[in-house]
Amino acid sequence: MTAKPRSTAHRRDGLWLAALVHRLSGLALALFLPLHFLALGLAIEGEARLDGFLRWADRTPVKLAEAGLVFLLAVHLLGGVRVLVIEARPWQDGQRRLAGIALAVAALVAGLFLLEAM
């Protein structure tokens, strides 16, 4: 007797994708944080050392990566607020729409950052 294959239909659901985005954005931010702290910690070695890093970071590929981080932070924040509200308040319909709005607002914030930074 062969095992029944597990259904993956739920993976096409918008809210499953929202949960995945929340998880992956959190994981990426957690992995980025030590690097962020090490970069700021350069100030211990003097202002010039931090300035050298900031000059190095003032280039297009780094700005694009920073925009990605801004997106991750914003989407993790908004997705987290949605989860907190679901847990603390009676269920509200339209969660897929709210998850979509969170994604759009996060993309907008990252886009604004990129417009300012470039």
Binding site: R23, G26, L27, L29, A30, L33, P34, H36, F37, L38, A39, L40, G41, L42, A43, I44, E47, A48, L50, D51, L54, D58, V70, L73, A74, L77, G80, V81, L84, E87, V109, L112, F113, E116, A117
Partner: protein
């Protein structure tokens, strides 16, 4: 996730939310100004307010991140409880140590 970790995860999230909004606002506000080390340090050096802001932010992020990483590892890695706890405490300690060092670097 144990109830205690679940609760701490939610409390740190609620406390961090306004700090993240402020952090994002500051990022957007300063991103077009060609930031230098002098710009950053003139704002932060000797500032108790920024020290408390960033110190609190680091502590909350270290706890929230460590619990979050433990939760993801539990579901995706198949590690046992003792290894998961070691990962959580170790990762949290690294985040807290490096984070407070960074705060010290820009405040002191």
């Amino acid at each position: 996730m144990s109830f205690r970790r679940y609760l701490i995860q939610r409390i740190t999230a609620v406390l961090m939310a306004p700090l993240i909004v402020a952090h994002l606002a500051l990022i957007l506000w300063t991103s077009g100004q060609g930031l230098t080390a002098a710009d950053i340090l003139s704002r932060t050096r000797g500032s108790l307010g920024w020290g408390l802001f960033y110190g609190g932010f680091v502590a909350l992020a270290a706890v929230h991140g460590a619990i979050g990483v433990r939760g993801v590892a539990r579901e995706w890695s198949g590690l046992r409880d003792a290894a998961l706890d070691a990962l959580m405490w170790g990762f949290g300690a690294v985040l807290l140590g490096l984070g407070l060092r960074a705060v010290w670097a820009v405040i002191a």
